[in-house]
């Protein structure tokens, strides 16, 4: 092979890499938007599961094109922890709370979708200088990760139920992981493992909190927490 063909091959690989990362990032952002649209907790859980699988796919893609085997390990742990274990725990939590009426957020669906659109726009504008200075093939994913970050923050503040706030937090954590994967090709494995443990611990603590709220107030509507009960 001549040098030119090698070079064109490389640019083609880069284009495909950037395309795949962008596709995965957009998919993750879409799962965030699904949460804003749907009204029942099971739909939220499956949106979170999809998001985790997509995050694992993006991580594995970055590992393949970046030539870093450790990212495969991270992707595997992601699937096991966020793709299987946490959704199962969430479902157990939801079963324990019993059938909940559909979720009424503080902001209605149309407005929250439009707000999410504006947040994505904001993320794009914010990430512009950052995208301009890097020449990573994954730079197109940066605004998407920022957008997911803002959208999940919005999910946390605009939903009433403790369980949906937990899902919003988990999505926020996913957004940070996506940012790490596309921005720096993944952080060292040790840090990654620490983050996983933190996320799991945070989730378990929040689960205990949600159970306590449920036992004390007979509801997981955080609106009720503003009044004194005893």
């Amino acid at each position: 092979m001549t040098l030119e063909t090698l070079e064109t091959l490389e640019t083609m690989m880069d284009a495909m890499f950037s395309q795949l990362v962008m596709l995965g990032g957009s998919g993750m952002l879409l799962t965030g938007l699904i949460v804003l649209w749907r009204k029942h907790v099971p739909a939220y859980i499956s949106a979170y599961r999809w998001q985790a699988w997509l995050l694992a796919a993006v991580t594995a893609t970055v590992g393949y094109f970046g030539g870093d085997w450790r990212l495969y390990v991270v992707a595997g742990v992601l699937v096991a922890l966020k793709g299987i274990a946490i959704p199962a725990l969430l479902r157990a939590m939801q079963l324990r709370f019993g059938k909940q009426p559909q979720i009424t957020p503080y902001v209605n669906t149309e407005t929250s979708l439009l707000v999410a659109g504006l947040l994505v726009l904001f993320a794009y504008v914010l990430a512009r200088p950052w995208v301009a200075v890097t020449d990573l093939p994954t730079r197109e994913g940066l605004p998407l990760a920022m957008a997911l970050l803002f959208v999940s923050l919005f999910i946390i503040v605009s939903r009433r139920k403790a369980i949906t706030q937990v899902i919003g937090f988990l999505m926020l954590e996913n957004a940070i992981a996506l940012l790490a994967a596309v921005g720096t090709y993944g952080v060292p494995l040790l840090v990654e493992v620490g983050v996983f443990l933190d996320a799991l611990m945070g989730f378990l603590v929040m689960q205990i909190f949600a159970y306590q709220i449920h036992d004390t107030f007979d509801t997981i509507d955080v609106e009720q927490l503003t009044r004194l009960r005893h």
Partner: protein
């Protein structure tokens, strides 16, 4: 000369295929629901029967009521002649672009709503008001997804967009393209009166939109309206198929290329029609007050499509 003949032939193919497409969706839906269903070519018999019947027109109706079926059918045929169904030839003369096509279709919808109001029947008025609500909500999405497509290709002409996607196949997998496709698909469902926005197979007064507007029509008028509605569905699905997945479309007037173009467009339409049939079997009609939510989802999708093509380059 050949060019005009081919273009006219392409329009004829679209007009002739339209009832079969509507019938195919109906047949597949029936099979999926465990019914035998009428054969896919049943709409042809229906149209022929309706053309042979007498038209009954209300005394209070004005000329708008009689002109509307011709307007609806006429504008849809004009749009069908603009859309690249079998062949997309890049020519210096752009006769009609995406904007022209979408807004010509809207002209037909506008007159249909007028005709619904014209007879003074309560159902017609209800249907017209609902249709206008839905159309007003889909409008921003249509405009935005057109912008997303045009930004990618640098032109709003159909053939330019097709040619651009054919030369850059990787762009077709880009999020801008996929999101715009999703947005346009939801809009297609809303504009052609399919589930979950409108139920095409019901005559229940409280839920129908399109059927309520055309309730007063009979005979040849009804035949034209039904045929026009089927053609509109075909045009929207062809747009979705050929602008987003143009592979197989003929770029020259050679007979072989045209044949491949015809077969590929039928295959693509079949896949999209099957998708609609499966979707209509799986989902229930949305409450009218939840329709704006679905349409704002499609709006946000289109907005994201524009953003990812416009801001991320």
């Amino acid at each position: 000369m050949t060019r005009y003949l081919v273009l006219a032939g392409q329009t004829l193919v679209a007009v002739a295929l339209a009832p079969a497409l509507a019938g195919f969706i109906r047949w597949l839906k029936a099979r999926l629901q465990g019914r035998r269903g009428a054969p896919p070519w049943q709409p042809y018999f229906d149209v022929r029967k309706l053309f042979g019947k007498e038209a009954v027109v209300s005394h209070t109706a004005s000329w708008i009521f009689k002109a509307t079926p011709f307007l609806v059918f006429g504008t849809t045929v004009v749009v069908a002649s603009l859309v690249p169904v079998v062949v997309a030839q890049v020519s210096p003369f752009v006769v009609g672009d995406l904007f022209a096509a979408v807004y010509l279709l809207l002209l037909g919808t506008f007159f249909l709503a007028l005709a619904g109001l014209d007879t003074g029947s309560p159902f017609g008025g209800m249907g017209a008001s609902r249709e206008m609500t839905v159309v007003a909500l889909t409008e921003p999405t249509v405009a935005l997804s057109i912008v997303a497509l045009a930004l990618n290709a640098g032109s709003t002409s159909f053939s330019q967009i097709v040619a651009h996607t054919l030369t850059q196949p990787s762009a077709a997998l880009g999020p801008g393209h996929l999101l715009a496709f999703a947005a346009l698909f939801i809009v297609t469902l809303a504009e052609t009166g399919r589930l979950p926005v409108d139920n095409p197979s019901t005559h229940l007064e409280l839920t129908m939109i399109h059927e309520a507007m055309v309730l007063e029509y009979s005979g040849p008028y009804l035949a034209l309206i039904e045929w026009g509605a089927a053609l509109k569905l075909l045009v929207f699905l062809t747009l979705a198929a050929n602008l987003f997945m143009p592979w197989g479309i003929a770029l020259s007037l050679a007979p072989m290329a045209l044949l491949i173009g015809l077969v590929s467009v039928i295959a693509k339409l079949g896949v999209l029609a099957a998708a609609i049939a499966v979707l209509e079997t799986r989902v229930a009609k949305l409450r009218l007050f939840r329709v704006p939510e679905l349409l704002s989802v499609s709006f946000v999708l289109a907005l994201l499509a524009v953003m990812s093509t416009f801001l991320a380059r």
